[in-house]
């Protein structure tokens, strides 16, 4: 018996976190999530932040 498949090769997941190894559900989930996470922030988002920032400065 060799135990788990790649136990000696890959580093174990950080404690308290989920491992993504060999799990199609988590791979799909990451693909969906990362597509948005990797995208540039939309301009309206940045505009909004800038407006808030300016309003802040005006009001001291």
């Amino acid at each position: 018996m060799t135990g788990d498949k790649k136990g000696s090769i890959h580093t174990p997941p950080e404690e308290g976190k989920l491992s993504h190894d060999d799990d199609p559900v988590l791979r799909n989930l990451k693909a969906v999530y990362d597509e948005v996470a990797a995208a540039d922030l939309p301009q309206h988002f940045l505009d909004l932040l800038n407006k808030l920032d300016e309003a802040e400065k005006r009001n001291g």
């Binding site: 018996m1 950080e14 404690e15 308290g16 976190k17 989920l18 491992s19 993504h20 799990d23 199609p24 559900v25 988590l26 799909n28 989930l29 990451k30 693909a31 969906v32 999530y33 990362d34 597509e35 948005v36 996470a37 990797a38 995208a39 922030l41 939309p42 309206h44 988002f45 940045l46 909004l48 932040l49 808030l52 920032d53 802040e56």
Partner: protein
Amino acid sequence: MAEPGASFRDGIIEHAPSLRAFAHTFVKDSARAEDLAQETLLKAWANRERFTEGTNLRAWLFTILRNTFYSEVRKRKREVEDVDDLLAANLSTPAAQEHAMAIRDFREALAQLPDDQREALILVGAAGFAYEEAATICECAVGTIKSRVSRARNRIAELMGDEPIPDSGPAVPSRATPPAA
């Protein structure tokens, strides 16, 4: 004292991509997801005095996003249909279409989960929060998060026609584990 406003703003910009990613994974309708992310940003800004500098800004922001979502759900109890089919149809190559179909099926399955299971799965499985952090964000016990994540994974696997995934961690109510080969 350095400008607290500026560092708070920088913090928001740093975490905005993952907030948007969570919103778009959690909510199927993309316009609604974008609104949710933006609303979170506004609320975070308006309540920034309530954030304690040096504590976990990312978790705080996700908590706001979550609360925003649930208060919106309470306000308008209605289902919103999605535009995923259109997105999939717009991709041209067969490989891209196949990939898009797989992703669409996955999103379909994800959307069928109860909100509490879906949020737990995304927080832990995609946003990279530890179980403990997710439990804080969702205001529940760590064991509850673990069990929700586990149920969510198994349910999606079932919906997508895969074998249920055996539980790997402790403290998760386990299904019958298949005998070793």
